[in-house]
């Protein structure tokens, strides 16, 4: 995947530690974030893989 840019700020996204919250739990993961406005971008791979597995775990599926 090439370098992603924030549509609003026109700056490159950087990988940073990001706190995720779901069903009252918080967890930490790495995600691409705009250093200027803080907007976070989750890759399809992350959403369909890791985040989906966390969701299934927390929902007892």
């Amino acid at each position: 995947m090439g370098e992603l840019t924030c549509v609003k700020c026109k700056v490159a996204l950087v990988e940073t530690k990001t706190e995720l919250r779901y069903l009252g739990r918080s967890m930490e993961g790495k995600a691409l974030r705009c250093p200027k406005c803080g907007q976070v971008c989750f890759s399809e791979e992350l959403v369909k893989g890791t985040i989906h597995e966390v969701e299934m775990t927390l929902e007892d599926k």
């Binding site: 993961g29 890791t50 597995e53 966390v54 775990t57 927390l58």
Partner: protein, 238 residues
Amino acid sequence: MLCERKPYESPEMLGALGDAVRPGGLDLTRRALEHCAFTAGQRVLDIGCGSGATVGLMMHKYDLDASGIDLSETAIASGLRRSPGLPLQVADGRNLPFGDGDMDGVIMECTLTATGDTDSTLSEAFRVLKRGGRLAVSDMYLRATTEKPPSSVLLPCLEGAVDREKTVRDLEHAGFRLRLWEDQSDLLKELATRIIMKYGSLSAFWSKACGDSECRDTPSLNGAYRNYGYYLAIAQRL
């Protein structure tokens, strides 16, 4: 009794769990110690102490005369490298190197089910405890509504897990009276989500911990948190 692959010594397991290699970590240990209400100076033994995180906590935060034993030479050596002088030794929970009634308390965290011999381990805990001494156990249990899933050599504690009723019967049979049972099963989910976020998936974690990318135990381990619960029990020696 010992897993040949020694998962609790794997860098992946330690990376996910930290020094307190079990669900709940030291937070659950503090809860157990507070329920036991030990007073400063009392003697408390940690059976299955690993590298001694709980022993250090008991000594430095609770002023207890704490000591620990573990079968793993690697874990004991690691603890002594980090904290020389910590009272840790390599020993078997089924044959404790302490006299009758030496202890005011015994703590076993994710240890009892892993010993492969619950009766002998509880019997030894009973022997070294004073009358009225407290036993704190946190461990896996099998949910009553599920059939026992396939066990795994990676996690010996799954092999030894029994349901709540059997756990309580075992404690009573060994001469203890149950004072408290708390379901802490949410800690398994918490641990599973922490591992997924760190390693990408549970399968990736188990393959690394196992050292085998085609780890055949992965499916049963991935479902472990659904079939098993986790508890904290406080019992008193009669």
